[in-house]
Every structure is written in structure tokens, then in C-alpha cells.
Point group: C3
Chain length 281, copies 3
């Protein structure tokens, strides 16, 4: 299937740590609709752990290859109201999102790399982007700064009208997840859990393709000082595991993941995002 | 009110056990939008308990009478990546959804019955439905198989282009909830809790219309060996109950439900989906 | 940025206490789409605490200034199926929502005041608004009464076709949150927590602009009999606080809020919606 030829309006792909209990997400939708009624807002997720910029960056990276043309709007922003810049980044690749909008704290850069790298960067002016009726302090830039900018870019407004060009080299870069490989008599990878999904699967920073397909099982140690899980089989799908058997598979992003069939590996093992993992074979 | 005459684009009605914490649902939306930008995706719910195929089937049945034309996309799929087939089912009734797309594990059939029964069934080919950029193992068929098929069917693509016709008689059938009725000196119904909603109401498998309107109260026993709740009044609405009084009413799907006014019967009674219930009168 | 000039279809802004675990919200979307396919439904939130009419009213008020033209559909409705009326209220102001639809229990009035006051009020007829296929008891008016009315009003149907004009003076008024100010040798405000957001910030009923900007710190007592929090500094943004320091800021609605930087004041203090607060300076 190639991209459809039907009626097309601009898309804004929206990710945040706002959660869905409050009206934050709804208000951002309303602001975009008011400014650019032809735009369709696609919610990627708003379930990022509050303030966890790295988790938001990981989720954006996983989603990025599946997004069509449009604007990514991402807000995980513990520094809101402070000195951190508000950004619009132009992605180099074609076919996917053209722009990424969000705070200058490392949230956007990894996904921008997936989308071909940053071609140009703009620091958004704060004052101009306020919508009519904006009240209160500078604590909700998703509503007051980022949503108006995303709506404008989705509508084709010139980014020079929104802010000032800045050097790509000066953007805040995130700390990448741990991934150290040592070859020898015993091969070893030191890494960490980058994502615990709702089913309790433990995604690691290791691309599955980095491991020789001939390696059918790996010894896994979890945490520090370390809980030995023994030798886990690499399988193709959850159903290849016996009930209660821990295994390793290439997950839907091509990353190595520690999983249980029809049960939560995270609950079973007490693991969470950031837990260190050692693989040997 | 009859169906509106305004601008109409195709609808996809999407239900899953993906939850909203991760980006799974957002990525499925993005894939559909990329393939069929004119389609409107309506989220039915993504809060089905992980892996609970029966709960997903029940939710689809409850929603089915209210859906207009379009495609149902339902994914509760513990067997993903295994031998289970991927299905597209043609519903016989007109006015509602024409197609149901999802795994062959019993999830779709009860709702298809509500929609007039299955007229034709197709087993979707896996390989052809991958979107560009799909990476990783076969663990996210919602993204890689079902969403592309739903987008294609919503766009009017011939189902023969998507898969192979299969026998309706060979589809996996779900185990229906327990519903046994015994008439005698004492009338008795043995059933179970089919749904605990967010308000804590306990829906039973019993259509309220099956009980003679003249029966104004029933003795209810919950669980096994069984906690006697005494004789509960049948009422029309929550407000007809005194504070703290348990009662029975015809819920919004016409099913008998055990309820408390403005409080959670489930919390009060410690009941959950699947809890056995005995009614006598 | 002014309102966009692109393709515009009617909007329904939807808030409820339905949660997202069940299919309630999805079914309401489907009903609106069936009756008025050109309408765009914007979900404000469905995370209002079940039955908490006041919390729903507060959330609507916070969102109201950011909504464009359209219809507000709000359902927090513990009295469903009882004698309470179903309402459509015409807002006096232009540029924002023209109509608010929901139960006559105080949920709509505060937001209607934000939108210029109630110009006209209608009591919706129950029977006529049922969609085809509606089953069961009168426990889901969001689906059976309010959504059809919102769809009709968004489509421009004459409100006289939906119900009967009623006196605005007879509408159920909510109890406003506590806000008592006493001037003297010691200035004092007695108020309460009106909202605990997902980040744990404690919004008070006090407009920040009511406090002289020269007052740089206030003594805060929480709860009854009262836990003294000492003197808290008024700051502009979260980042102006030291780690672990409680402070006061003007939040994104212009209300005074008790906050911690990058942590939950609510968890730290054990406060919740309705907790009494005393401010002195």
C-alpha cells in the first residue's frame, strides 16, 4: 500500500506527559482547531511519565518512521517558564513530518535524526504566539507557545515569521541510553531497559540486528549488583515461549526485548525503565 | 434524528487492549492516516484488559448497534505472531459497519452477529500489508497488518486484493458467558459478571427483558461458594435506590446489572468480571 | 495569530466523567458521527472524578476561554434517569461556543458565565432524541439524549425542535468554591484546593491578580485543624524554586497555586480537591 490519494489535510502528531485526567490535551486540541481548523491532530501518546524527557524522546523515535507529512508537537517540559528555548526543527527527509516543535531539552533531536537530521532550527518567540484569552503565568507553553506554532507551521506559515534561526550545533543533546559492546572469549553487551510497555515487555537499547542470528540464546543479568536470569532463548514471537518462560525477541521496533508470553516481564522481574542489563554469550 | 446529510468520509472504529500509556494507538492512527487520509478514526476504547479477548468481544457487542457505516478494527491479540489467522469479516446488515478486521480468536464474531451475521470472511495476507518502514518482529500486527487492511477496506479496496476467502464455519468461536435458566417452584438463573464498568456497576449476561416485569425483586448470590446479598429490588434508575442500597436495573445495553447509587458495587462487593452470580425468585 | 481561514466544520467539545477504560466515550463519538458526520469532536477530558459535578464545572471553566465556535457537550450526571432536566444553554458571547449541552445540576453554568452568560435555556425532550437502536434503561443519557442534541445544534437545527424554553433563573446553581477575604492588621484569605492536576499542583480558588504584586510571600496553612507550611515565596515559574521548596505561582489559568518544582505538591502534602487553605500576610 502506498500513501492514499484521498482528501488530505495537514496533520499534527502530538505527544506529551500531560496525561488524560486533566483538560490539558483537550485545550491544546482546541487551540489548534481554532487557529487552523483544517488540521487533523493525531495523538501519539500523552502517557509519558511526567518530566521524563528521555522516555518522550524514545517514544517519538519509535513512532517517527510511521508518521506521514505534517508537524510533530512534543511537550515534556520540566523547564517550562525558564530560560530553555522553544524550538521548531526542520527535518531533512521527505515523506514524513517536515517540522518538529517542542522545548530545547533533547526531546526532539533523536526523532529528528530518524527523520533525516535537522536541516534548520528556529527559536520561537514567546510573546507573539499567545492566543487570544491566554491568562495566567508561563506554565503552559503547550497551549500558549507550541500549539500555536505547530498550527502555523501545519498551515504553511513561514518559520521566519515565528522565530529566529539558531545553530543546530547549539541544541541541547540528550544522553543516549547505555549501549557498550565488548567482544572476546565471552561476548558482552552492557545496556539498559529503555521502555516498559503496557504489557510489561522490557525493551533494551540493543538493535536485534546487531546480534548474529546464529546466537540462539544469551545469558541475561538484570540490575546492579545483578540478578542472573540464566540463559534466555531468542524467539520470533511470544507464542514460541512456554508458559512462564522468559525469552528474548526482536520487538516491533527491531530492538531486543525481554518478554514473557501473555504476562508482564516487568512485574515478574521488578524491572523498570533505566534498569541496567548485561548480556553475555 | 436520522443520519446526517453532511460531508461524509469513511469511518474506522478502533478498539484494542493497547492502553493509552504507550504510543501504540497513536501509531495505528498515523498508519491509517498515511494510507487513507480521508478516513476518520473513532476510538471505541483501548482500555480492554490486556489479552482479555472475551472482554473485548463484549465491548464491541455493546457498541455495535450505535456504529454507522465503516470498518471495525479490533485488536486483542495474545496470539500475535503465531499461527492464528488475520481476518476481515463482511457483515450482512446495512447501515452499520460493513467490515470487521482483527485476529481469528473469537474477538469479532459476537459483534458480527449483532451486525447481521458474517456474509463473507477473508484471511488477510501478512506480507503484503506491511507499510513502508515497518521494522522489527511480528509482534505489532495492529500496525503492520490490521490497520493497513482497515484503511484499504475503508477506502473501498476489493477484499480479494487483501486476502483469501475462508469458510465462515471454520472461524474460531468464543465461549459465551454463562447463562442457565431453570424454572420450577423456585426460578433460578445461573450467570456471571460480564463487565465491571468504571462506575463499578456489575453487568450480568442476563437480558433484562428475559425477566417478567412483574418480578419486582430477586435474591442474589455472588461468587462461589457464594455470598448472599439478600433480595434486591428491580429499579428503573440509580436515583430510585436509597443511599447504600444494592439494586438491579436494566442498564444502557438492556442487560441486568447489580448497582449502587453513586457508588461502586464492584468495590463494595469485591466482584470482578467473571464472578459467578445466582438469581432466584 | 487570529482564527484560521481554512476549511471549517462544526466542533463539539466533549467533557465527561466516563473515563477511557470503557467504550462510553467511543459510543458517544460514534453517535455524533452518525447523526452529523461533518462535526469534529474535540475531547476536553473524560478524567473528571466520577460524579464530581463541581470538578467538571471547574475544568469546563478553565477550558472555556480557549474554545472556538461550536457546542460544549458535558456529562457528569449522577442524577441520570431521575427528575433532573437535560439542558441546552445559549451562550451570549460570540467567537466561542454558542451552546452548552448537559444535565441541569450546575455543571454548565460557571462555564456559561465565562462565555458571556446564558442568553436562552431549553429543557431537552428525552424521547425524541433517542437514536435508532437505543436499548436498555435510562442510564446513558450521554448517548441517548445529550449527544444527539449536541449533534443537532452543531448542525444548526433550531433549538425549539429539541425542547422547551425554560427560565434561566430556575437553573440549578452550583456551590462556588470557598473564597473569603479579610483585611486587617493581618490580611487573610480562606479558600480551598479546587484542582489537583496530574503533576500534583494545587490550584486554589484565588485569582492571582487579586493579590498585590508587592506581596512577595504568604503564610500558608493547609487542612483543618491545619498544617502550617510556613511562608511560601511567590514565584513566576517552577524553575524559580529550589529543589524541594514549596512555592506559590500564578498558574496557567491565572489562579494562585501551591507547587513544588518537578515534583507533586499534592503527594508531598497529602492534599486533595476540597482541602481547606488559609493564606495570611
Amino acid at each position: 500500500l502506498s500513501a492514499g490519494a484521498g482528501r488530505r489535510s495537514a496533520s499534527v502528531f502530538f505527544l506529551s506527559d500531560y496525561g488524560l485526567r486533566d483538560e490539558f490535551v483537550g485545550v491544546v486540541h482546541a487551540v489548534i482547531r481554532r487557529l487552523a481548523p483544517e488540521v487533523c491532530v493525531v495523538d501519539l501518546t500523552h502517557g509519558v511519565e511526567p518530566f521524563d524527557v528521555g522516555a518522550g524522546a524514545e517514544a517519538l523515535c519509535r513512532a517517527a518512521p510511521y508518521l506521514g507529512e505534517g508537524v510533530v508537537l512534543a511537550v515534556v517540559d520540566p523547564g517550562v517558564g525558564g530560560a530553555r528555548r522553544a524550538l521548531a526543527l526542520r527535518a531533512a527527509a521527505t515523506g514524513g513530518p517536515d517540522w518538529l516543535v517542542g522545548p530545547d531539552n533533547g526531546l526532539l533531536l533523536p526523532a529528528a535524526e530518524v527523520l533525516g537530521g535537522v536541516q534548520r532550527a528556529f527559536s520561537l518567540r514567546r510573546e507573539d504566539r499567545r492566543v487570544d484569552g491566554a491568562a495566567g503565568g508561563p506554565t503552559f507553553d503547550g497551549r500558549d507557545v507550541f500549539a500555536p506554532a505547530a498550527a502555523a507551521l501545519a498551515s504553511g506559515i513561514d518559520p521566519e515569521d515565528l522565530g529566529t534561526p539558531v545553530e543546530v550545533s547549539g541544541l541541547v543533546r540528550p544522553v543516549p541510553p547505555r549501549l557498550v559492546r565488548r567482544a572476546g572469549a565471552v561476548n558482552e553487551i552492557l545496556t539498559e531497559v529503555t521502555w516498559v510497555d503496557a504489557f510489561g515487555n522490557l525493551q533494551l537499547a540493543v538493535p536485534s540486528a546487531d546480534l548474529d542470528p546464529g546466537v540462539g540464546a544469551l545469558s541475561v543479568t538484570l540490575g546492579a549488583p545483578g540478578q542472573g536470569l540464566g540463559s534466555l532463548r531468542r524467539v520470533r514471537a511470544f507464542g514460541d515461549l512456554a508458559p512462564g518462560e522468559l525469552g528474548l525477541l526482536a520487538d516491533s521496533n527491531g530492538r531486543l526485548a525481554v518478554v514473557l508470553a501473555r504476562a508482564s516481564a516487568a512485574l515478574h522481574l521488578g524491572a523498570e525503565r533505566g534498569t541496567p542489563v548485561r548480556l553475555t554469550w
